[in-house]
């Protein structure tokens, strides 16, 4: 078909539609009966093999949708109502004010988590902060202690970076045994977004950091006043104060108006509702650096200041929420998942179909970025038999996910945090 023919055809179509529109306009009062008449006018004998979704006019195809003034802040389709964060009593204390709601990994695509589905952990509830009354103070071992309004902070040149944030307790309830028949709960203590903000090192250029400043306290302005200590090395490398999340302001659950971003490290270090940065020559021993966010080893010593979330991966399709029950023997299908490392960039992912005895290399797909979720893919011909699926990622720092056995042999089963042993699940 050449261009001129196709153009003239579309003109014809437009004329036809105009005619129809005029027809309905004139007969508006009778439009319902007119529609009914239309199918009577051209009756088709519907056979069992014909899909009613095609053969019958759908209600949304024969009447107006919503005007552009509807939902001026867009919402997902109402049919996506089951795609939500979820929580469970086991992970809560403080009457859901010191708790976590986790991300539905089974429903995500790509490497960006929509803001409404980003996992949410807090220690005193989500505050309702007026950005006009919120301040950031930078003090301690600096020559020029500073106070910034949010508008002033945003005057600094910004950078945007795609990074995951992962709670180091991701997978933690399963050190001793599998617990969750769900990928959302087994691995959903994490999400990935594009963050916009300023490198702390850029603000410090004018403040005169003193030579004995070795540690930075970051403290939130919410009711938990949660703090964490960050070593100066990371502050001067890539730590950021961020206000943007996937192109819009941070959500309240993510620290509105600002949070700390410590790429790749424990999510708990990415202090939300950030109000204060103080530099000191000694670490602070914050509340979340004691019984929580330390990893007890089998020798009775606990790792404190356990920074980077180590290389990790999870198969998201198939998963307990979305099993392959609709597949037939002989179907060729994609096994898909997410890999990430807080120590750098994903180099590759291996897949095992037999519980980790033999491995083959999967493909990476899409963007492969430093300290960001990375998608992997493996095309598999399904023979209808149960599979024992595992994925195992490796990063450019040279680390490979250990097996659960290797990890338990090395550190025991009581660490709670930083569990990254590759896990298998049965798929059938």
């Amino acid at each position: 078909m050449n261009k001129s023919i196709s153009a003239s055809k579309s003109v014809e179509t437009a004329t036809e539609q105009l005619g129809r529109r005029n027809f309905f306009k004139k007969t508006a009062a009778y439009s319902v009966s007119a529609l009914a008449a239309a199918s009577v006018i051209a009756p088709v004998k519907v056979k069992a093999e014909d899909d009613p979704a095609i053969m019958e006019e759908q209600p949304w195809a024969v009447k107006w949708g919503q005007p552009v003034t509807y939902n001026l802040y867009g919402q997902p389709s109402a049919y996506e109502s089951n795609v939500t964060r979820r929580t469970t009593e086991l992970l809560s204390s403080g009457n859901m004010r010191a708790s976590i709601a986790v991300t539905p990994l089974q429903d995500l695509s790509g490497i960006i988590t929509p803001n409404g589905l980003f996992f949410n952990r807090h220690h005193g509830g989500t505050p309702d902060i007026d950005p006009n009354e919120h301040r950031l103070m930078i003090h301690g071992l600096v020559e020029k202690p500073l106070v910034l309004t949010m508008d002033q902070l945003k005057r600094y040149p910004n950078v945007s970076r795609i990074h995951f944030i992962e709670c180091p307790a991701n997978g933690g309830p399963e050190w001793r045994n599998p617990q969750f028949p769900s990928v959302q709960f087994a691995k959903g203590f994490m999400s990935c977004a594009e963050w916009t903000g300023v490198y702390i090192k850029d603000i410090l250029k004018d403040l005169g950091l003193k030579p004995d400043a070795k540690w930075m306290l970051a403290e939130g302005g919410d009711s938990s006043h949660m703090g964490r200590t960050v070593p100066i090395d990371k502050v001067l490398d890539d730590a950021m104060i961020v206000w943007g999340q996937n192109g819009e302001a941070l959500r309240p659950e993510q620290g509105y108006p600002i949070r700390l971003l410590v790429p790749g490290w424990e999510g708990n270090l990415c202090v939300k509702w950030l109000a204060r940065l103080e530099f000191a020559s000694e670490p602070y021993y914050c509340k979340e650096e004691t019984a929580k966010y330390t990893a007890l080893r089998k020798d009775g010593k606990a790792i404190q200041h356990f920074y980077a979330n180590e290389v990790n991966s999870v198969i998201t399709s198939p998963c307990p929420e979305k099993p392959w029950t609709d597949l037939k023997k002989g179907d060729t299908v994609e096994i898909e998942g997410l890999a990430w490392s807080g120590m750098g960039t994903i180099e590759g992912v291996d897949i095992s179909l037999d519980g980790g005895k033999n491995w083959v290399e999967a493909s990476l797909k899409g963007l492969v970025l430093n300290r960001a979720w990375t998608r992997f893919s493996f095309i598999h011909k399904y023979d209808g038999k149960p599979l024992f699926l595992s994925s195992r990622a490796r990063d450019d720092a040279g680390y490979v996910q250990p097996s659960v056995k290797q990890e338990r042999d090395a550190v025991g089963v009581e660490g709670v945090y930083h569990r990254n042993g590759w896990c298998s699940h049965m798929g059938n």
Binding site: S92, P181, E310
Partner: protein, 377 residues
């Protein structure tokens, strides 16, 4: 001869070019600009050719002239400098005894942490017995379902008591933080030290023991040396750097086996019973519109507040509060008259903090009380 020599040269040139671009693409490093090794065992991506880790950067020199904001005042810094460090920096003036702490604990803490800091209902235990004995449990591993595990609480696990002071002062009581005085905080720390049977100067604490800024650093926690790497002192950063440079310290793995990685069949660990499956909301992958909520009246603010802030104590009588729905209990409460009920709630009574720890104004608080009374008729 000449030809093949020429060919060899061009191949060599191509190889050089290839390796240059390979270096440019992979700019990862294990060393900071100052020559020190990375602190976390990972990779960093120094700026090369205006890029870091694939992201372009603005590298104009004028960047260093950017400055906004204003100097923090001395009073502002004092007002916000609420941390208390392990060496005592930040400890305020004040004092409190074990006995005073006991009273404050009963009034403001026991409703969540239960008697003697026993914990429960998702609220952490503040002691689980003699701290020195409990510290020994940190060696335990629950390899079988009935094994005893490690007890990690303040007394047995935390390295410094400064953290407890800081946390109580700025984070407790959980629904109403920043409401305790320095004296009350010293008293509560003294009480919690005493119920953990932690000794100071070799002695367990009497009821009249008074804790203050002056004797605070005499508290030596049983698990003070239980943490690695050692981060205190002048070598703190270097100790940390060394620690994460050695994968053995934290269970890092660098092996990548591809074939016949173990003998026999894989060992299968199964979820016990149905596992944890009480999720809110329940799991579903159905594409469906949300179910209409039963009895949704829309905008019942009092009920929302009750559910969020009051139900924790009033849902049952376990905390000694009149349970919502318990007709008898509320008839008895109301004998005092509705005004007295409002007043008690607003001022706080028994274990209940003022307005239940909420920040509601009087009118809204009364509406919640009305809702609770109505729901108990």
């Amino acid at each position: 001869m000449f030809k093949s020599y020429h060919k060899l040269i061009s191949v060599a040139a191509m190889l050089t070019l290839t390796s240059v671009s390979a270096i440019a693409a992979s700019d990862a490093s294990r060393t900071y600009e100052n020559g020190k090794k990375v602190i976390d065992g990972g990779m960093i991506y120094p700026v090369k050719n205006g890029q870091t880790a694939g992201y372009y950067l603005n590298t104009q020199k004028a960047y260093k002239d950017i400055k906004f904001g204003r100097p923090a005042t001395a009073n502002e810094m004092k007002a916000w400098d609420i941390d208390v460090m392990y060496d005592g920096t930040g400890l305020p003036e004040g004092k409190g005894s074990v006995e005073e702490g006991d009273e404050i604990y009963e009034a403001k803490c026991a409703s969540c942490h239960f008697d003697f800091g026993a914990g429960g209902s998702g609220y952490p235990a503040l002691q689980q017995g003699n701290a020195y004995e409990m510290q020994k449990t940190l060696m335990l591993q629950r390899l079988k379902p009935d094994d005893d595990g490690p007890h990690r609480n303040f007394g047995s696990y935390w390295p410094y008591a400064s953290t407890l002071f800081w946390y109580i002062k700025t984070g407790m009581p959980h629904p109403a933080p920043m409401t305790l005085t320095n004296d009350e905080t010293y008293a509560l720390v003294a009480y919690i030290i005493s119920i953990n049977e932690i000794k100071i100067d070799g002695e367990e604490l009497d009821d009249d023991f008074v804790l203050s800024k002056d004797n605070f650093l005499k508290i030596v926690m049983p698990n003070k040396d239980g943490f690695v790497p050692k981060i205190e002192g002048k070598d703190g950063l270097e100790n940390t750097r060394k620690f994460y440079d050695n994968p053995k310290n934290f269970g890092g793995n660098k092996e990548r086996c591809m074939k016949d990685c173990f003998k026999g069949e894989p060992k299968v660990a199964r979820i016990q019973g149905v596992g944890i499956s009480e999720y809110a909301p329940p799991l579903s992958s159905k594409k469906e519109k949300p179910a209409k909520k039963e009895g949704a009246t829309g905008g019942n603010e009092a009920k929302t507040t009750y559910d969020a802030s009051c139900a924790v104590c009033h849902a049952t009588d376990a905390m000694g509060a009149p349970a919502v729905g318990d007709k008898k209990a509320w008839v008895s409460v109301l004998k005092k008259g509705i005004d007295k009920v409002y007043e008690n709630g607003i001022k706080g009574i028994n274990g209940m903090p003022p307005k239940g720890g909420t920040a509601l104004d009087d009118a809204k608080f009364k509406a919640v009380v009305d809702y609770m009374i109505k729901a108990s008729k």
